[in-house]
């Protein structure tokens, strides 16, 4: 699934940390989309252009459109820049495309932008860029846009990270064990349940992606494997289940006030016994001594009823 990340479009967040860096995965995905013939724009803010282009062969390097904001982020040299508004201006300009070619925009890194720009403005611009193709009317005219953002988790608090996650279509969190890198991919499609999957991978020296079967492959649901599911019916002091004989006895039990419609002798006898106590039987008697304060209504309307 890691190789089809960009097929969905939208905002893809690559969350890395100090132990598991994400720039090599970013470069691998950039290489993949360049080889697919898509237009690739790079907003380089964190590392220099030479460092970013290192490791790519010349074919790919020629296809990348690199916007360098590392060397002169505040535009002090006042040269004729293609995008005068800084990285935000560059992103806004990309909102107004009309090409049918699919585009991948790689942000290296989104953390750099988040630390220098207000979070709300950045969210609004990212949403506008990544959702250009979502109008059902004219979907044929504008190609699919994927925005790949590299986010260093440890630099930000839960607020900005949560806000960006809620906007993202796909979130890839890098981790791993014992030298083997893994990517936990959470994919949110607009009106469907999110799907998550863990993929083990490694990046080869020429930045191609090598998918592997790691120690524990396949999707892990969020349940903790060390705690087995609790069965509440174990260790009870009473019996919840019926044995076969008990079940038969229960099924053949005749309930007291359910009378079958047939007029067999046994059911008639039963009916009589329950509804009308026989005079010969030792029924209990109630002795009632009316008090001075008791008010016996001689005109009891229930006397008219004939049961």
């Amino acid at each position: 699934m890691l190789d089809s990340l960009l097929a969905l479009g939208g905002l893809v967040l690559l969350r890395d940390s100090v132990e598991w860096e994400g720039r090599s995965l970013l470069k691998a995905l950039v290489k993949k989309s360049a080889l697919c013939g898509e237009q690739v724009h790079i907003l380089g803010c964190e590392v220099s252009e030479e460092e970013f282009r290192e490791g790519f062969d010349s074919d790919i390097n020629n296809r990348l459109v690199y916007h360098d904001f590392f060397r002169d982020p505040l535009n002090w040299s006042k040269t004729e820049e293609a995008f005068p508004g800084g990285p935000l201006g560059a992103l806004r300009a990309m909102c107004k495309r009309t090409d049918p070619v699919p585009v991948t925009i790689a942000l290296d890194s989104l953390s750099w932008l988040l630390l220098r720009l207000p979070c709300t403005t950045l969210c609004q611009v990212l949403h506008a860029v990544s959702h250009q193709d979502s109008c059902p009317g004219d979907s044929s005219s504008v190609g699919k846009v994927s925005v790949l953002g590299l986010l260093h988790e440890e630099l930000h608090g839960p607020g900005p990270v949560g806000a960006l996650s809620s906007l993202a279509q796909t979130e890839v969190t890098l981790g791993g064990t014992m030298g083997q890198a893994s990517a936990h991919i959470l994919c949110r499609r607009p009106r469907q349940r999110p799907t998550d999957q863990t993929q083990w991978f490694s990046i080869l020296p020429d930045f191609s992606l090598d998918l592997q079967e790691g120690p524990s492959v396949e999707s892990q649901p969020y349940s903790d494997p060390h705690i087995p599911p609790v069965d509440p019916t174990t260790h009870l002091t009473f019996n919840l289940h019926l044995s076969k004989k008990e079940r038969e006895a229960r099924d053949s039990l005749i309930l007291p006030f359910q009378f079958s419609s047939e007029n067999t002798k046994s059911s008639l006898l039963r009916q009589q016994a329950l509804l009308r106590p026989r005079p010969g039987q030792a029924t209990s008697h109630i002795f009632y001594e009316p008090d001075a304060y008791d008010d016996l209504d001689q005109e009891d309307p229930d006397d008219d009823l004939d049961i």
Partner: protein, 386 residues
């Protein structure tokens, strides 16, 4: 028996009531109907707007939220002039459904809609509304839905406690030809002609606002200001507050605001704990409530409260809204694999119900409610497990 005789004599003094009492022998208490009041001085007449009904508890005019089960939990429906706040679930899958049910109910009843969003174009939201299930064919589909989803254990007829089988669940079957509360099929789209026949206004934030506005601290964010102005214009121009006393039939304005408080509205309460605009949302809700109380409108707002960093803001927002319903879906939590919850998709929490002209509010007895989205219907059931 004596009591009826005395009120019969009281009723006899008002001429019209005697006639009606003698015709129908049910009771001597009769309301003086419109046919009896031919004169101008007719006493209080009920405002009969399509899709509304007066509450039996406190006389407020109610509109349906689009989900009859939710209407029942709120005491009959949503009162006109109030705000229904939905706290979104974590992945925002079920709260858009409730939002769409509310809007679809407005279209079916012929109400005017106002849809505001910073994320999606309102025209796209309206295209995705669920189709209404109307009368005879809906009862058949509802029944077969119910029978298809019965588990084998529940098919064993209870022998001893047989009266409990007759106990109704929280869900109500569709009432044929009911004018209040309709059922919707979530798998089908509303027919295009119904949408086009309806009167709706859309507010899509990226179109309305230019991005270079400077915001002073302690004021409303520009997005909220524009939205409030838009709502106020619509209310005034279309006469929902009685300011244009024209001939037109009175109608209800249903306002739907999606994802309020998210960064796409320009509000940073989801990003920072003590941002500069921390009072913007609460001011917006306060002004909105003032606009609603003076007009014939009802509003639904969905808000991603799980992203708000400052918990005090959530408490303020809850106080400023009238009805607050929270959705908690089981996706991604440990409850998803819990066998006790396997029939349900999430929990629904009724956090607040308003006290409108009352000292107490109309709470239902059950607090543990769970919801599930069946193939077509969204149902709310009492969670008997916990």
């Amino acid at each position: 028996m004596a009591a009826v005789a005395t009120c019969g004599s009281v009723a006899a003094s008002t001429g019209s009531a005697v006639a009606t009492a003698s015709k129908s022998n049910v009771t001597s208490f009769q309301r003086r109907g419109p046919r009896a009041s031919v004169t101008n001085d007719s006493g209080p007449r009920l405002v009969s707007i399509a899709g509304t009904r007066p509450s039996v508890r406190n006389g407020q005019l109610l509109v349906s939220t689009g989900l009859p089960a939710l209407d029942q939990l709120l005491g009959g429906g949503l009162a006109v002039g109030t705000v229904l706040l939905i706290e979104e679930d974590k992945y925002n899958i079920y709260s858009p459904l409730l939002f769409k049910y509310f809007l679809a109910e407005g279209i079916v009843n012929g109400h005017t809609l106002l849809v505001a969003s910073a994320k999606e174009d309102p025209a796209n939201i309206l295209q995705e509304l669920p189709a209404p299930l109307l009368d005879d064919k809906c009862k058949k589909e509802f029944d077969e839905d119910v029978y298809n989803h019965k588990t084998p254990e529940s098919n064993i007829k209870m022998k001893i406690a047989w009266r409990y089988q007759l106990l109704p669940k929280m869900e109500i079957g569709p009432v044929s030809s009911s004018r209040f509360g309709h059922y919707y099929d979530a798998s089908k789209r509303m027919p295009q002609e119904l949408i086009e026949a309806s009167n709706w206004h859309g507010f899509f934030l990226p179109e309305k606002i230019s991005s270079t506005l400077k915001v002073e601290p302690c004021s409303l964010t520009p997005g909220y200001t524009k939205l409030l102005q838009f709502i106020q214009n619509i209310i005034y121009e279309e006469g929902f507050d009685g300011s244009n006393p024209q001939k037109k039939q009175r109608n209800i304005l249903r306002i739907g605001i999606q994802n309020l408080g998210s960064p796409l509205w320009g509000d940073d309460i989801c990003c920072a704990e003590n941002g500069g605009n921390s009072h913007s949302l609460t001011k917006f809700l306060y002004v909105l409530r003032g606009l609603l109380r003076t007009s014939l409108s009802a509003c639904i707002i969905t808000m991603p409260t799980h992203l708000i960093q400052n918990k005090a803001i959530i408490a303020r927002v809850t106080t400023l809204s009238d009805v607050v319903v929270g959705l908690e879906s089981f996706i991604g939590s440990e409850r998803e694999t819990n066998p006790l919850y396997k029939d349900y998709h999430g929990l629904i929490h009724i956090r607040q119900i308003p006290r409108l002209n009352n000292l107490i509010c109309d709470e239902s007895d059950v607090k543990d409610l769970a919801f599930k989205l069946k193939r077509k219907l969204f149902t709310i059931e009492v969670d008997f497990i916990s």
